[in-house]
């Protein structure tokens, strides 16, 4: 029998794969968002996910819940209240001294137990160092599907399954992935890919408490220390409102100073393409793109950047993109909003001056 004939005989799926949801999994209901917090603050990705989760829950006609794991003296109730304001109907809260500070083992058990007990159909996590670590472990423990770094989440009307779209092959292609015969359906999403939802001061919800059922002696890995990044000069590219980025078109590391100069005047963060990072002109934290950061600034200025797909996927969410490139056929002009076909080495300093003078004039007028 050829492969084609075989697939005709079994319409359920290729290689005899069953793509029907088994009866016992049909009771799984609701959309969950894992709420990531650390040292007293919730990571903004969790609110972004609640916004997206709300849409999924509404199109399925089910509830949206947050999941909060943490220590007894952490502000989990405040975080839950905030989750309600961002769209959650309820929050599953697990408090235990063991859950203070992220460790894989207790968090995997905590989240897995909650899923088994309450049976959500969709579980979303941020594609952060915590979210990816946890999602991979929980999905394996539950034996279910997990789709990483999604850029779009929808409900497939035919199957009511989650259709998760993500870039693949370094961003050259997109693919839509579904988990048809298993529950829950799990996905991670990078920070800043989804917009922040509106906050509603008057929304509230219910808290459902859970218990971990582990003692510290059960846990093999100990958290000895947390060394915060020097908070003063930390690069916070993902959440920057204005970014000036430079690419290989700047030719020499010294020329990259022109990018810093413009960023200085604009009060902007500095970004870069991968070749620039690899050449050591700037720190890896500043790389924008598929293998770097996803950004969503109000203004993104790209100087000497070709606009390769791997860079594009990281910055096309910007409200306004300005490109400076000598090559009128550079792909960046296909998706930038404004452009200058010109030499960045000359245009950047001119732009720095033009902005500086413009602002000086405006301030003078205002005074």
């Amino acid at each position: 029998m050829t492969e084609q004939e075989a697939s005709k005989k079994k319409p359920a799926g290729r290689a005899g794969r069953n793509l029907e949801l088994p009866e016992h999994l049909k009771s799984y209901k609701g959309v969950w968002v894992f709420i990531e917090h650390d040292r007293g603050a919730v990571h903004q990705i969790s609110w972004e996910l609640l916004g997206e989760g709300r849409k999924l829950a509404d199109s399925l006609g089910v509830a949206l819940s947050g999941v909060l794991l943490g220590g007894p003296n952490e502000d989990l109730d405040d975080f839950a209240a905030e989750a309600f304001r961002y769209g959650a109907d309820s929050c599953y809260v697990m408090r235990d001294p063991i859950l203070k500070g992220y460790r894989n083992e207790p968090f995997t058990k905590g989240l897995t137990d909650l899923v088994n007990q309450h049976q959500p159909e969709i579980v979303l996590l941020g594609a952060t160092t915590m979210g990816r670590d946890l999602a991979g472990s929980v999905a394996t423990t539950l034996g279910t599907g997990l789709t990483a770094d999604c850029t779009e989440l929808r409900i497939d009307p035919a199957s009511r399954a989650l259709a998760a779209t993500r870039p693949t092959f370094g961003g050259s292609l997109l693919c839509t992935i579904m988990t048809l015969a298993y529950r829950p359906q799990m996905a991670t999403v990078r920070p800043r890919v989804m917009p922040m939802p509106a906050r509603n001061e008057h929304r509230s919800g219910t808290i459902i408490e859970g218990t971990l059922g582990m003692i510290e002696a059960d846990i093999v890995t100990k958290l000895l220390d947390f060394i915060p990044d020097a908070s003063s000069n930390k690069v916070n590219l993902a959440y920057a409102d204005v970014i000036v980025s430079g690419g290989k078109g700047l030719k020499k590391p010294e020329n990259f100073q022109l990018v810093w100069d413009l960023a200085q005047v604009l009060g902007a963060e500095v970004g870069a393409t991968r070749p620039v990072v690899q050449a050591g002109w700037v720190d890896a934290e500043r790389q924008v793109g598929q293998t770097g950061k996803t950004v969503r600034p109000k203004l993104y200025i790209a100087a000497g950047i070709s606009g390769a797909i791997q860079h594009r996927v990281g910055m096309e969410g910007a409200d306004c993109i300005v490109a400076i490139n000598t090559d009128p056929n550079a792909p960046i002009f296909d998706f930038a909003h404004y452009g200058i076909v010109g030499n960045a080495l000359q245009v950047l300093p001119a732009l720095t001056d033009a902005f500086r003078n413009h602002f000086a004039m405006k301030r003078q007028k205002a005074a």
């Binding site: 005899g16 794969r17 793509l19 650390d38 500070g101 894989n104 952060t128 915590m130 999602a135 991979g136 472990s137 394996t140 599907g145 789709t147 990483a148 497939d156 259709a163 870039p167 693949t168 092959f169 370094g170 050259s172 292609l173 997109l174 693919c175 839509t176 992935i177 579904m178 093999v220 890995t221 100990k222 000895l224 947390f226 915060p228 990044d229 930390k234 409102d241 009060g267 890896a284 293998t291 109000k298 797909i309 594009r312 306004c320 300005v322 002009f333 296909d334 998706f335 404004y338 452009g339 200058i340 076909v341 010109g342 000359q346 245009v347 001119a350 033009a354 500086r356 602002f359 405006k362």
Partner: protein, 282 residues
């Protein structure tokens, strides 16, 4: 000490082109390489071997041609190389891949106990970072992802202290062996293979295991059948309808262009102007 390093052979995606009409990957002529992130894991394993002695085994699941990737690793000085290859593995997603690799590692363990399993942070073709955590769970080994440095290893007490990248800082974790480490990029610099190493690699007998050799117990959990995720659609990114509005450049100096751009930007986005004005450092 015995370390297993899991590697993957990937197409050099820097050189991948997408067919403009069919939206399929054009692999022809695209060289296959060892997933670059895995090399940081391999180097770290070799450094531990330099310091503590013992053995390093590289393990790869893939098609027969992935043997080349293993040979490349041999040239850096590993002791054993195993390619797990079988048609039954085709179409595996990360869950099915971690099942197969974990089974193979257990089979390796039957020959010699394993202290540490290394993987790279993620692959450059899939980018999921899910296989490492999957293997760790299946082996019941402690999982340490995004590890930036190994602070201390005590083979007698059987514990290890590492630093890992977390959001906004670095976690220092201490755990017991065996553990699985996914290594962060740019954590070390890969050594060069010497001529004798390369000759040794060319002659090296890479072991090839089919699914039975690898100790797969449940064939419904490997390959396409064992993969819960279903790829329903592959497509190219949609081009935006309109192109960038260009600043006139004819007989314009860079200064003219810059003034023009600022004018154009702020006429169309007055709100942006107000916001930038607040941030501006003159």
């Amino acid at each position: 000490m015995h370390i297993v390093v899991c590697i993957k052979q990937v197409p050099d995606s820097a050189q991948i082109r997408v067919h403009p009409v069919t939206n399929t990957i054009m692999r022809q002529g695209v060289p296959a390489i060892v997933n670059p992130y895995d090399l940081f894991a391999l180097e770290e394993a070799l450094r531990l071997k330099d310091k503590f002695g013992g053995r390093v085994t590289v393990l790869c699941m893939g098609p027969p041609q992935a043997e080349e990737a293993l040979r490349k690793c041999v040239s850096f000085g590993v002791d054993d190389a195993i390619l797990v290859t079988d048609r039954a593995f085709a179409g595996a997603d990360t869950l099915a891949t971690s099942y197969a690799l974990a089974a193979a590692i257990r089979t390796i363990e039957a020959e010699q106990a394993v202290d540490i399993v290394f993987t790279g942070k993620q692959t450059i073709d899939g980018d999921t970072a899910q296989v490492g955590p999957g293997i760790a769970k299946r082996l019941n080994a402690q999982l340490l992802t995004y590890v930036s440095s190994i602070v201390e290893l005590d083979l007698i007490g059987r514990w290890i202290t590492i630093e890992r990248r977390a959001e906004g800082g670095v976690q220092v974790l201490k755990t017991r062996l065996p553990c699985l480490i996914t290594m962060l990029e740019n954590t070390n610099e890969l050594r060069f293979a010497t001529m004798p190493d390369m000759i040794r690699a060319a002659r090296f007998g890479v072991r090839k295991w089919n699914k039975d050799d690898a100790g797969i117990e449940d064939v419904s959990r490997i390959g396409l059948k064992g993969s819960p995720t279903v790829v329903s659609k592959v497509f190219g990114p949609t081009p935006r309808a309109e192109k960038a509005e260009l600043v006139p450049t004819e007989r314009a100096t860079p200064r003219d262009m810059a003034l023009n751009l600022v004018q154009m930007l702020f006429t169309k986005h007055p709100l942006l102007e107000a916001e930038l004005l607040e941030k501006a450092r003159l």
